[in-house]
Protein backbone atom coordinates (compact mmCIF):
# COMPACT_ATOMS: atom_id res chain seq x y z
CA UNK A 1 0.00 0.00 0.00
CA UNK A 2 3.08 2.20 0.11
CA UNK A 3 2.69 3.00 -3.55
CA UNK A 4 -0.64 4.74 -2.82
CA UNK A 5 1.17 7.26 -0.62
CA UNK A 6 3.08 8.45 -3.66
CA UNK A 7 1.41 11.75 -4.68
CA UNK A 8 1.91 11.44 -8.46
CA UNK A 9 0.29 8.00 -8.36
CA UNK A 10 -2.60 9.41 -6.33
CA UNK A 11 -3.05 12.12 -8.97
CA UNK A 12 -3.13 9.56 -11.77
CA UNK A 13 -5.64 7.30 -9.97
CA UNK A 14 -7.92 10.19 -8.99
CA UNK A 15 -7.69 11.57 -12.53
CA UNK A 16 -8.69 8.18 -13.95
CA UNK A 17 -11.70 7.88 -11.66
CA UNK A 18 -12.92 11.40 -12.38
CA UNK A 19 -12.30 11.08 -16.11
CA UNK A 20 -14.60 8.06 -16.47
CA UNK A 21 -17.52 9.40 -14.36
CA UNK A 22 -19.20 11.17 -17.34
CA UNK A 23 -19.26 7.84 -19.15
CA UNK A 24 -21.02 6.15 -16.21
CA UNK A 25 -23.48 8.84 -15.13
CA UNK A 26 -25.53 10.78 -17.61
CA UNK A 27 -24.76 14.44 -17.06
CA UNK A 28 -26.41 17.25 -18.97
CA UNK A 29 -24.23 18.99 -21.53
CA UNK A 30 -24.23 22.21 -19.45
CA UNK A 31 -23.06 20.38 -16.34
CA UNK A 32 -20.25 18.76 -18.27
CA UNK A 33 -19.17 22.12 -19.69
CA UNK A 34 -18.97 23.36 -16.13
CA UNK A 35 -16.84 20.39 -15.05
CA UNK A 36 -14.56 21.02 -18.00
CA UNK A 37 -14.08 24.65 -16.99
CA UNK A 38 -13.29 23.50 -13.42
CA UNK A 39 -10.40 21.46 -14.85
CA UNK A 40 -9.22 24.39 -16.97
CA UNK A 41 -9.31 26.81 -14.04
CA UNK A 42 -7.51 24.21 -11.91
CA UNK A 43 -4.59 24.38 -14.33
CA UNK A 44 -4.37 28.18 -14.12
CA UNK A 45 -4.79 28.04 -10.35
CA UNK A 46 -1.89 25.60 -9.93
CA UNK A 47 0.36 27.91 -11.94
CA UNK A 48 -0.87 30.92 -10.00
CA UNK A 49 -0.29 29.09 -6.72
CA UNK A 50 3.34 28.44 -7.67
CA UNK A 51 3.68 32.19 -8.00
CA UNK A 52 1.63 33.36 -5.02
CA UNK A 53 1.74 30.45 -2.60
CA UNK A 54 5.28 29.19 -3.14
CA UNK A 55 7.26 32.14 -4.46
CA UNK A 56 5.27 34.75 -2.52
CA UNK A 57 4.86 37.05 -5.53
CA UNK A 58 1.54 38.67 -6.33
CA UNK A 59 0.02 39.21 -9.76
CA UNK A 60 -3.32 40.81 -10.55
CA UNK A 61 -2.88 40.47 -14.28
CA UNK A 62 -2.84 36.73 -14.81
CA UNK A 63 -6.10 36.68 -16.77
CA UNK A 64 -4.10 38.33 -19.56
CA UNK A 65 -1.85 35.27 -19.88
CA UNK A 66 -4.85 32.97 -20.07
CA UNK A 67 -6.45 35.20 -22.69
CA UNK A 68 -3.22 35.34 -24.63
CA UNK A 69 -2.98 31.55 -24.65
CA UNK A 70 -6.58 31.33 -25.85
CA UNK A 71 -6.11 33.83 -28.68
CA UNK A 72 -2.80 32.32 -29.84
CA UNK A 73 -4.15 28.78 -29.84
CA UNK A 74 -7.39 29.85 -31.54
CA UNK A 75 -5.53 31.84 -34.18
CA UNK A 76 -3.03 29.08 -34.94
CA UNK A 77 -5.59 26.26 -35.19
CA UNK A 78 -7.77 28.46 -37.40
CA UNK A 79 -4.74 28.75 -39.68
CA UNK A 80 -4.56 24.98 -39.84
CA UNK A 81 -1.70 24.36 -37.42
CA UNK A 82 -2.21 21.14 -35.40
CA UNK A 83 -3.73 21.46 -31.94
CA UNK A 84 -0.75 19.90 -30.12
CA UNK A 85 1.65 22.43 -31.58
CA UNK A 86 -0.78 25.30 -30.98
CA UNK A 87 -1.30 24.49 -27.30
CA UNK A 88 2.48 24.33 -26.79
CA UNK A 89 3.02 27.71 -28.45
CA UNK A 90 0.05 29.05 -26.45
CA UNK A 91 2.02 28.10 -23.33
CA UNK A 92 5.46 29.22 -24.44
CA UNK A 93 4.65 32.76 -25.64
CA UNK A 94 2.93 33.79 -22.35
CA UNK A 95 5.90 32.19 -20.58
CA UNK A 96 8.30 34.52 -22.39
CA UNK A 97 6.08 37.53 -21.67
CA UNK A 98 5.94 36.34 -18.04
CA UNK A 99 9.68 36.98 -17.87
CA UNK A 100 8.95 40.69 -18.26
CA UNK A 101 6.72 40.63 -15.19
CA UNK A 102 9.49 38.77 -13.37
CA UNK A 103 11.86 41.64 -14.10
CA UNK A 104 9.26 44.08 -12.77
CA UNK A 105 8.94 41.97 -9.62
CA UNK A 106 12.64 42.34 -8.97
CA UNK A 107 12.17 46.09 -8.52
CA UNK A 108 8.72 46.17 -6.90
CA UNK A 109 7.25 44.37 -3.92
CA UNK A 110 3.86 43.82 -2.33
CA UNK A 111 1.27 46.50 -3.10
CA UNK A 112 3.43 48.12 -5.75
CA UNK A 113 3.88 44.85 -7.60
CA UNK A 114 0.12 44.26 -7.38
CA UNK A 115 -0.56 47.64 -8.99
CA UNK A 116 2.04 47.14 -11.71
CA UNK A 117 0.69 43.70 -12.64
CA UNK A 118 -2.85 45.08 -12.60
CA UNK A 119 -1.70 47.69 -15.12
CA UNK A 120 -0.08 44.95 -17.19
CA UNK A 121 -3.34 42.96 -17.26
CA UNK A 122 -5.41 45.97 -18.28
CA UNK A 123 -2.93 46.84 -21.03
CA UNK A 124 -3.02 43.36 -22.54
CA UNK A 125 -6.80 43.31 -22.38
CA UNK A 126 -6.86 46.62 -24.26
CA UNK A 127 -4.58 45.10 -26.89
CA UNK A 128 -7.07 42.22 -27.27
CA UNK A 129 -9.77 44.84 -27.95
CA UNK A 130 -7.78 46.93 -30.42
CA UNK A 131 -5.68 44.43 -32.38
CA UNK A 132 -8.61 43.24 -34.45
CA UNK A 133 -6.58 41.55 -37.18
CA UNK A 134 -5.34 39.08 -34.56
CA UNK A 135 -8.21 38.85 -32.07
CA UNK A 136 -11.21 39.97 -34.11
CA UNK A 137 -11.89 42.56 -31.38
CA UNK A 138 -15.34 42.78 -29.82
CA UNK A 139 -16.85 40.46 -32.43
CA UNK A 140 -14.91 37.68 -30.74
CA UNK A 141 -12.85 34.80 -32.03
CA UNK A 142 -14.26 31.41 -32.95
CA UNK A 143 -12.28 28.29 -32.15
CA UNK A 144 -12.05 24.79 -33.58
CA UNK A 145 -12.59 21.67 -31.53
CA UNK A 146 -9.31 20.21 -30.35
CA UNK A 147 -8.08 17.30 -32.40
CA UNK A 148 -5.08 15.03 -32.01
CA UNK A 149 -3.98 12.77 -34.89
CA UNK A 150 -7.37 13.02 -36.52
CA UNK A 151 -9.37 12.32 -33.36
CA UNK A 152 -11.62 15.27 -32.64
CA UNK A 153 -12.50 16.07 -29.02
CA UNK A 154 -15.89 17.40 -30.04
CA UNK A 155 -18.01 15.81 -27.31
CA UNK A 156 -17.86 17.17 -23.78
CA UNK A 157 -17.00 13.70 -22.43
CA UNK A 158 -13.94 13.23 -24.64
CA UNK A 159 -12.75 16.78 -23.97
CA UNK A 160 -13.05 16.07 -20.25
CA UNK A 161 -10.61 13.18 -20.64
CA UNK A 162 -8.17 15.37 -22.59
CA UNK A 163 -8.37 18.17 -20.02
CA UNK A 164 -7.84 15.78 -17.11
CA UNK A 165 -4.83 14.17 -18.77
CA UNK A 166 -3.24 17.61 -19.13
CA UNK A 167 -4.18 18.59 -15.57
CA UNK A 168 -2.68 15.39 -14.15
CA UNK A 169 0.54 15.82 -16.14
CA UNK A 170 0.91 19.45 -15.08
CA UNK A 171 0.08 18.60 -11.44
CA UNK A 172 2.77 15.93 -11.35
CA UNK A 173 5.26 18.29 -13.00
CA UNK A 174 4.46 20.98 -10.45
CA UNK A 175 4.64 18.51 -7.56
CA UNK A 176 8.05 17.17 -8.61
CA UNK A 177 9.41 20.63 -9.26
CA UNK A 178 8.21 21.97 -5.92
CA UNK A 179 9.69 19.01 -4.04
CA UNK A 180 13.15 19.57 -5.49
CA UNK A 181 15.76 22.30 -5.70
CA UNK A 182 13.54 24.83 -7.47
CA UNK A 183 10.68 24.43 -5.01
CA UNK A 184 12.97 24.83 -2.01
CA UNK A 185 14.53 27.92 -3.56
CA UNK A 186 11.10 29.49 -4.21
CA UNK A 187 9.96 28.84 -0.64
CA UNK A 188 13.24 30.17 0.75
CA UNK A 189 12.77 33.33 -1.30
CA UNK A 190 9.23 33.71 0.08
CA UNK A 191 10.17 33.14 3.74
CA UNK A 192 13.45 35.05 3.89
CA UNK A 193 15.06 36.86 0.97
CA UNK A 194 18.20 37.40 3.07
CA UNK A 195 18.65 33.71 3.81
CA UNK A 196 17.91 32.81 0.20
CA UNK A 197 20.58 35.15 -1.12
CA UNK A 198 23.15 34.08 1.43
CA UNK A 199 22.56 30.46 0.38
CA UNK A 200 23.28 31.27 -3.24
CA UNK A 201 19.73 31.69 -4.54
CA UNK A 202 19.53 34.40 -7.17
CA UNK A 203 16.31 36.35 -6.59
CA UNK A 204 16.31 37.45 -10.22
CA UNK A 205 16.48 33.90 -11.54
CA UNK A 206 13.79 32.50 -9.27
CA UNK A 207 11.39 35.41 -9.70
CA UNK A 208 11.69 34.93 -13.46
CA UNK A 209 11.11 31.20 -13.04
CA UNK A 210 8.03 31.73 -10.87
CA UNK A 211 6.43 34.22 -13.24
CA UNK A 212 7.21 32.29 -16.40
CA UNK A 213 5.99 28.92 -15.10
CA UNK A 214 2.73 30.40 -13.89
CA UNK A 215 2.25 32.20 -17.22
CA UNK A 216 2.90 28.90 -19.02
CA UNK A 217 0.18 27.15 -17.03
CA UNK A 218 -2.21 30.03 -17.71
CA UNK A 219 -1.47 29.92 -21.44
CA UNK A 220 -2.11 26.16 -21.64
CA UNK A 221 -5.41 26.60 -19.79
CA UNK A 222 -6.40 29.46 -22.14
CA UNK A 223 -5.74 27.23 -25.12
CA UNK A 224 -7.97 24.49 -23.69
CA UNK A 225 -10.66 27.07 -23.01
CA UNK A 226 -11.04 28.24 -26.60
CA UNK A 227 -11.17 24.67 -27.88
CA UNK A 228 -13.86 23.83 -25.33
CA UNK A 229 -16.16 26.86 -25.55
CA UNK A 230 -15.07 27.68 -29.14
CA UNK A 231 -15.72 31.37 -28.68
CA UNK A 232 -13.85 34.09 -26.79
CA UNK A 233 -14.05 37.87 -26.60
CA UNK A 234 -11.85 40.49 -24.89
CA UNK A 235 -14.11 41.26 -21.91
CA UNK A 236 -13.54 37.79 -20.47
CA UNK A 237 -9.86 38.43 -19.75
CA UNK A 238 -10.20 41.36 -17.39
CA UNK A 239 -9.55 42.17 -13.77
CA UNK A 240 -12.53 40.12 -12.65
CA UNK A 241 -10.94 36.87 -13.83
CA UNK A 242 -7.59 37.83 -12.32
CA UNK A 243 -9.26 38.46 -8.96
CA UNK A 244 -11.15 35.19 -9.29
CA UNK A 245 -7.86 33.35 -9.76
CA UNK A 246 -6.51 35.01 -6.64
CA UNK A 247 -9.66 34.00 -4.75
CA UNK A 248 -9.39 30.38 -5.97
CA UNK A 249 -5.86 30.06 -4.68
CA UNK A 250 -6.53 31.75 -1.34
CA UNK A 251 -9.80 29.92 -0.70
CA UNK A 252 -8.43 26.55 -1.80
CA UNK A 253 -5.14 26.89 0.05
CA UNK A 254 -1.91 28.76 -0.60
CA UNK A 255 1.11 26.61 -1.42
CA UNK A 256 -1.02 23.54 -2.09
CA UNK A 257 -1.61 21.84 -5.44
CA UNK A 258 -4.77 20.15 -4.18
CA UNK A 259 -5.92 23.49 -2.78
CA UNK A 260 -5.68 25.08 -6.21
CA UNK A 261 -8.01 22.44 -7.63
CA UNK A 262 -10.42 22.67 -4.70
CA UNK A 263 -10.51 26.46 -5.06
CA UNK A 264 -11.24 26.23 -8.78
CA UNK A 265 -14.03 23.74 -8.08
CA UNK A 266 -15.49 25.84 -5.28
CA UNK A 267 -15.64 29.09 -7.25
CA UNK A 268 -17.03 27.48 -10.40
CA UNK A 269 -19.53 24.95 -9.11
CA UNK A 270 -21.02 26.55 -5.99
CA UNK A 271 -22.35 29.70 -7.76
CA UNK A 272 -23.98 27.42 -10.32
CA UNK A 273 -25.71 25.38 -7.62
CA UNK A 274 -26.89 28.52 -5.84
CA UNK A 275 -28.41 29.78 -9.09
CA UNK A 276 -30.80 26.83 -9.03
CA UNK A 277 -32.19 27.79 -5.60
CA UNK A 278 -35.44 29.73 -6.31
CA UNK A 279 -35.07 32.90 -4.20
CA UNK A 280 -31.28 33.21 -4.35
CA UNK A 281 -31.11 32.57 -8.08
CA UNK A 282 -32.77 35.90 -8.82
CA UNK A 283 -30.02 37.96 -7.21
CA UNK A 284 -27.78 39.39 -9.92
CA UNK A 285 -24.00 38.97 -9.65
CA UNK A 286 -24.55 36.24 -7.10
CA UNK A 287 -21.21 34.61 -7.93
CA UNK A 288 -19.26 37.82 -7.31
CA UNK A 289 -20.97 38.25 -3.94
CA UNK A 290 -20.20 34.63 -3.07
CA UNK A 291 -16.54 35.04 -4.04
CA UNK A 292 -16.19 38.11 -1.85
CA UNK A 293 -17.96 36.63 1.15
CA UNK A 294 -16.11 33.32 1.00
CA UNK A 295 -12.79 35.11 0.62
CA UNK A 296 -13.44 37.07 3.81
CA UNK A 297 -14.66 34.01 5.70
CA UNK A 298 -11.72 31.87 4.63
CA UNK A 299 -9.15 34.51 5.54
CA UNK A 300 -10.77 34.98 8.95
CA UNK A 301 -11.45 31.38 9.91
CA UNK A 302 -9.37 29.14 7.63
CA UNK A 303 -6.29 31.15 6.71
CA UNK A 304 -4.60 28.02 5.35
CA UNK A 305 -7.47 27.35 2.94
CA UNK A 306 -10.07 24.63 2.48
CA UNK A 307 -7.43 22.06 1.51
CA UNK A 308 -5.97 22.12 5.03
CA UNK A 309 -9.30 22.32 6.87
CA UNK A 310 -8.57 19.21 9.00
CA UNK A 311 -5.27 20.58 10.35
CA UNK A 312 -6.86 23.89 11.24
CA UNK A 313 -9.84 22.38 13.03
CA UNK A 314 -7.53 20.09 15.01
CA UNK A 315 -5.41 23.06 16.00
CA UNK A 316 -8.47 25.06 17.08
CA UNK A 317 -9.72 22.16 19.22
CA UNK A 318 -6.31 21.72 20.82
CA UNK A 319 -6.15 25.41 21.64
CA UNK A 320 -9.58 25.32 23.22
CA UNK A 321 -8.60 22.36 25.35
CA UNK A 322 -5.39 23.98 26.54
CA UNK A 323 -7.29 27.17 27.32
CA UNK A 324 -9.81 25.23 29.39
CA UNK A 325 -7.16 23.41 31.39
CA UNK A 326 -5.35 26.68 31.92
CA UNK A 327 -8.53 28.20 33.32
CA UNK A 328 -9.17 25.25 35.60
CA UNK A 329 -5.77 25.45 37.19
Amino acid sequence: MNILKNKPIQYILLGLIIAITPFIFNFQRGTLTMFNTVIIYSIVAIGFNILLGYAGQISLGHAAFMGLGAYISGYLTNMGIPFILSILIAGVIPMIIGLILGLVALRLEGHYLAIATLGFGVTIQQIFKEWTSFTNGYSGMRGQPASIFGFSFRSRESFFVLAIVILVLLSIFAYNLLKSKTGRALIAMRDSEHAAQAMGISLLKYKLIAFSISAFYAGIAGSLYIHLIRFIEPNQWGVELSLNLLAMVVIGGLASIEGSIIGAFFLTVIPDILKEIPMLGEIRNLSTILTGVSLILVIMFLPLGIARINIQIKEKLNNKNTKKTALNQ
Binding site: L177, S180, A185, I187, D191, M199, G200, S202
Partner: protein, 262 residues
Protein backbone atom coordinates in the same frame (compact mmCIF):
# COMPACT_ATOMS: atom_id res chain seq x y z
CA UNK B 1 48.55 32.62 5.07
CA UNK B 2 45.49 34.86 5.34
CA UNK B 3 42.19 33.59 4.05
CA UNK B 4 40.46 36.97 4.26
CA UNK B 5 42.04 40.39 3.88
CA UNK B 6 39.98 43.50 4.55
CA UNK B 7 41.75 46.72 3.65
CA UNK B 8 40.67 50.31 4.31
CA UNK B 9 37.01 49.42 4.37
CA UNK B 10 34.70 52.44 4.64
CA UNK B 11 30.96 52.80 4.34
CA UNK B 12 28.62 55.54 5.45
CA UNK B 13 24.85 55.80 5.66
CA UNK B 14 23.72 59.34 5.07
CA UNK B 15 26.14 61.41 7.10
CA UNK B 16 27.02 58.63 9.50
CA UNK B 17 30.31 56.88 8.94
CA UNK B 18 29.50 53.33 10.04
CA UNK B 19 32.87 51.85 9.16
CA UNK B 20 35.96 54.01 8.80
CA UNK B 21 39.12 52.74 7.09
CA UNK B 22 39.01 49.38 8.79
CA UNK B 23 41.71 46.81 7.94
CA UNK B 24 42.24 43.34 9.32
CA UNK B 25 43.36 39.89 8.18
CA UNK B 26 42.03 36.51 9.17
CA UNK B 27 44.54 33.65 9.20
CA UNK B 28 43.60 30.33 7.67
CA UNK B 29 42.20 27.81 10.18
CA UNK B 30 41.93 30.35 12.95
CA UNK B 31 38.99 31.52 15.00
CA UNK B 32 38.91 35.26 14.68
CA UNK B 33 36.70 37.54 16.75
CA UNK B 34 35.40 40.94 15.77
CA UNK B 35 34.11 42.72 18.85
CA UNK B 36 33.02 46.17 19.88
CA UNK B 37 30.30 47.98 21.82
CA UNK B 38 26.75 48.31 20.46
CA UNK B 39 26.61 50.25 17.22
CA UNK B 40 30.33 49.92 16.60
CA UNK B 41 29.71 48.73 13.04
CA UNK B 42 30.45 45.01 13.41
CA UNK B 43 27.40 43.73 11.57
CA UNK B 44 27.95 46.35 8.87
CA UNK B 45 31.42 44.92 8.28
CA UNK B 46 29.83 41.47 7.99
CA UNK B 47 27.26 42.73 5.56
CA UNK B 48 30.03 44.20 3.40
CA UNK B 49 32.00 40.94 3.41
CA UNK B 50 28.94 38.86 2.55
CA UNK B 51 28.05 41.48 -0.10
CA UNK B 52 24.68 42.55 1.27
CA UNK B 53 26.21 46.04 1.33
CA UNK B 54 28.68 47.52 -1.09
CA UNK B 55 31.31 49.57 0.73
CA UNK B 56 32.15 53.10 -0.41
CA UNK B 57 35.87 52.36 -0.35
CA UNK B 58 38.27 49.58 0.43
CA UNK B 59 39.15 46.08 -0.66
CA UNK B 60 38.00 42.68 0.52
CA UNK B 61 40.04 39.76 -0.78
CA UNK B 62 39.25 36.12 -0.16
CA UNK B 63 41.77 33.25 -0.67
CA UNK B 64 39.92 29.99 -0.13
CA UNK B 65 42.82 27.90 -1.48
CA UNK B 66 46.44 28.55 -2.39
CA UNK B 67 46.69 30.27 -5.76
CA UNK B 68 42.98 31.19 -5.80
CA UNK B 69 42.03 34.72 -4.92
CA UNK B 70 38.72 36.50 -5.26
CA UNK B 71 37.96 40.14 -4.95
CA UNK B 72 34.66 39.82 -3.11
CA UNK B 73 33.53 43.22 -4.36
CA UNK B 74 33.32 41.74 -7.88
CA UNK B 75 30.76 39.19 -6.73
CA UNK B 76 27.01 39.45 -6.28
CA UNK B 77 25.54 38.54 -2.92
CA UNK B 78 24.31 35.12 -4.11
CA UNK B 79 27.65 34.22 -5.73
CA UNK B 80 29.67 34.44 -2.52
CA UNK B 81 28.65 31.04 -1.13
CA UNK B 82 29.90 29.14 -4.17
CA UNK B 83 33.41 30.54 -3.55
CA UNK B 84 33.49 29.03 -0.07
CA UNK B 85 32.31 31.87 2.15
CA UNK B 86 29.02 31.57 4.02
CA UNK B 87 27.36 33.46 6.85
CA UNK B 88 24.73 33.25 9.58
CA UNK B 89 22.48 36.06 10.73
CA UNK B 90 22.07 37.83 14.02
CA UNK B 91 18.33 37.10 14.19
CA UNK B 92 18.30 33.58 12.69
CA UNK B 93 17.05 33.62 9.11
CA UNK B 94 15.60 30.16 8.53
CA UNK B 95 12.98 29.05 6.05
CA UNK B 96 10.35 28.67 8.75
CA UNK B 97 7.80 26.66 6.78
CA UNK B 98 10.22 23.95 5.74
CA UNK B 99 11.60 21.08 7.80
CA UNK B 100 15.05 21.15 9.37
CA UNK B 101 16.24 18.72 6.71
CA UNK B 102 14.93 20.91 3.88
CA UNK B 103 16.63 23.93 5.42
CA UNK B 104 19.93 22.10 5.25
CA UNK B 105 19.22 21.09 1.66
CA UNK B 106 18.86 24.78 0.82
CA UNK B 107 22.41 25.22 2.05
CA UNK B 108 23.47 22.95 -0.81
CA UNK B 109 21.53 24.92 -3.41
CA UNK B 110 24.53 25.94 -5.49
CA UNK B 111 26.04 22.45 -5.59
CA UNK B 112 22.77 20.64 -6.40
CA UNK B 113 22.64 19.75 -10.08
CA UNK B 114 19.64 19.39 -12.38
CA UNK B 115 17.63 21.70 -14.63
CA UNK B 116 14.01 22.69 -14.24
CA UNK B 117 12.67 20.23 -16.79
CA UNK B 118 14.54 17.28 -15.32
CA UNK B 119 13.38 18.28 -11.84
CA UNK B 120 9.75 18.47 -13.01
CA UNK B 121 10.04 15.06 -14.66
CA UNK B 122 12.06 13.68 -11.72
CA UNK B 123 14.62 12.15 -14.04
CA UNK B 124 17.23 9.71 -12.79
CA UNK B 125 19.96 12.33 -12.29
CA UNK B 126 17.64 14.42 -10.09
CA UNK B 127 16.71 11.38 -7.98
CA UNK B 128 20.41 10.53 -7.48
CA UNK B 129 21.20 14.12 -6.60
CA UNK B 130 18.37 14.29 -4.04
CA UNK B 131 19.68 11.10 -2.45
CA UNK B 132 23.22 12.47 -2.30
CA UNK B 133 22.27 15.80 -0.69
CA UNK B 134 19.90 14.14 1.77
CA UNK B 135 22.63 11.77 2.92
CA UNK B 136 25.03 14.64 3.44
CA UNK B 137 22.45 16.75 5.27
CA UNK B 138 21.74 13.82 7.59
CA UNK B 139 25.44 13.53 8.40
CA UNK B 140 25.53 17.16 9.45
CA UNK B 141 22.27 16.78 11.41
CA UNK B 142 23.89 13.91 13.29
CA UNK B 143 27.04 15.96 13.90
CA UNK B 144 24.91 18.71 15.44
CA UNK B 145 23.04 16.19 17.60
CA UNK B 146 19.69 16.97 15.99
CA UNK B 147 18.91 13.44 14.81
CA UNK B 148 15.23 12.65 15.13
CA UNK B 149 14.22 16.27 14.60
CA UNK B 150 14.98 16.38 10.86
CA UNK B 151 11.33 16.32 9.77
CA UNK B 152 10.15 18.95 12.24
CA UNK B 153 9.30 22.42 10.95
CA UNK B 154 12.24 24.75 11.46
CA UNK B 155 9.99 27.61 12.60
CA UNK B 156 8.47 25.60 15.45
CA UNK B 157 11.82 24.83 17.10
CA UNK B 158 13.21 26.61 20.15
CA UNK B 159 15.69 29.39 19.50
CA UNK B 160 18.76 27.37 20.46
CA UNK B 161 17.92 24.64 17.95
CA UNK B 162 17.18 27.18 15.23
CA UNK B 163 20.66 28.61 15.76
CA UNK B 164 22.13 25.13 15.35
CA UNK B 165 20.13 24.55 12.18
CA UNK B 166 21.47 27.79 10.75
CA UNK B 167 24.98 26.67 11.60
CA UNK B 168 24.26 23.31 9.97
CA UNK B 169 23.02 25.05 6.85
CA UNK B 170 26.38 26.77 6.51
CA UNK B 171 28.29 23.52 7.07
CA UNK B 172 26.61 21.56 4.27
CA UNK B 173 27.87 24.04 1.69
CA UNK B 174 31.45 22.89 2.42
CA UNK B 175 32.77 26.37 3.09
CA UNK B 176 36.33 27.47 3.77
CA UNK B 177 35.26 30.40 5.91
CA UNK B 178 32.12 30.77 8.01
CA UNK B 179 31.20 34.16 9.37
CA UNK B 180 28.95 34.00 12.42
CA UNK B 181 26.92 37.04 13.42
CA UNK B 182 26.43 36.83 17.20
CA UNK B 183 26.15 33.04 17.45
CA UNK B 184 25.51 33.15 21.21
CA UNK B 185 22.87 35.88 21.22
CA UNK B 186 19.89 34.81 23.31
CA UNK B 187 21.59 31.71 24.71
CA UNK B 188 22.10 30.88 28.39
CA UNK B 189 25.54 30.09 29.76
CA UNK B 190 25.15 26.33 29.36
CA UNK B 191 24.14 26.66 25.73
CA UNK B 192 27.00 29.08 25.13
CA UNK B 193 29.41 26.55 26.60
CA UNK B 194 28.16 23.85 24.23
CA UNK B 195 28.31 26.28 21.33
CA UNK B 196 31.92 27.22 21.94
CA UNK B 197 32.89 23.54 21.96
CA UNK B 198 30.94 23.06 18.73
CA UNK B 199 32.65 25.99 17.00
CA UNK B 200 36.05 24.58 17.97
CA UNK B 201 35.06 21.16 16.66
CA UNK B 202 33.94 22.67 13.37
CA UNK B 203 37.33 24.32 12.96
CA UNK B 204 39.27 21.21 13.95
CA UNK B 205 37.24 18.50 12.19
CA UNK B 206 36.24 20.34 9.02
CA UNK B 207 39.28 22.66 8.73
CA UNK B 208 37.01 25.66 8.42
CA UNK B 209 38.14 29.15 9.37
CA UNK B 210 35.71 31.01 11.63
CA UNK B 211 35.16 34.76 11.81
CA UNK B 212 32.66 35.84 14.42
CA UNK B 213 31.03 38.92 15.80
CA UNK B 214 30.01 38.48 19.39
CA UNK B 215 28.83 40.31 22.49
CA UNK B 216 29.42 37.44 24.88
CA UNK B 217 32.95 38.13 26.19
CA UNK B 218 33.22 34.71 27.79
CA UNK B 219 32.77 33.01 24.43
CA UNK B 220 35.13 35.36 22.59
CA UNK B 221 37.93 35.14 25.14
CA UNK B 222 37.48 31.39 25.37
CA UNK B 223 37.67 30.38 21.72
CA UNK B 224 39.15 33.21 19.64
CA UNK B 225 42.84 33.14 18.82
CA UNK B 226 42.91 36.67 17.55
CA UNK B 227 40.57 39.54 18.21
CA UNK B 228 39.94 42.86 16.51
CA UNK B 229 38.14 45.51 18.55
CA UNK B 230 36.29 48.28 16.78
CA UNK B 231 34.48 51.31 18.09
CA UNK B 232 32.58 53.86 16.02
CA UNK B 233 33.70 52.02 12.89
CA UNK B 234 37.42 52.33 13.68
CA UNK B 235 39.85 49.69 14.82
CA UNK B 236 41.04 50.47 18.33
CA UNK B 237 42.98 47.30 19.13
CA UNK B 238 44.06 43.95 17.78
CA UNK B 239 45.75 40.94 19.36
CA UNK B 240 45.36 37.77 21.38
CA UNK B 241 42.61 37.55 24.02
CA UNK B 242 44.99 38.34 26.88
CA UNK B 243 46.47 41.33 25.06
CA UNK B 244 42.97 42.64 24.39
CA UNK B 245 41.92 42.13 28.00
CA UNK B 246 44.82 44.24 29.22
CA UNK B 247 44.47 46.96 26.61
CA UNK B 248 43.39 50.20 28.29
CA UNK B 249 41.73 51.61 25.14
CA UNK B 250 39.50 48.54 24.93
CA UNK B 251 38.62 48.71 28.60
CA UNK B 252 37.61 52.29 28.20
CA UNK B 253 35.52 51.71 25.06
CA UNK B 254 33.71 48.79 26.60
CA UNK B 255 33.32 49.54 30.23
CA UNK B 256 33.98 53.21 30.55
CA UNK B 257 36.66 53.72 33.16
CA UNK B 258 36.46 50.88 35.66
CA UNK B 259 37.53 47.35 36.30
CA UNK B 260 37.50 44.57 33.74
CA UNK B 261 34.99 41.90 34.48
CA UNK B 262 35.71 39.22 31.95
Amino acid sequence: MSILKVKDLSISFGGLKAVDKLSFEVKENSIYGLIGPNGAGKTTVFNCISRFYTPDEGKINFHPRDNKEYNLLDLKVYEVISKGLVRTFQNVELVKHLSILDNLLIGMHTTTKGGIISQGLKLLNVRKEEKRIRKKAMEVIEFLGLKGLENQLAGSQPYGIQKLVELGRTLVSEPKLIILDEPAAGMNSNETETLSKLIKRIRDEFNITILLVEHDMGLVMNICEEICVINFGKKIAQGTPSEIQNNPAVQEAYLGKGEVSC
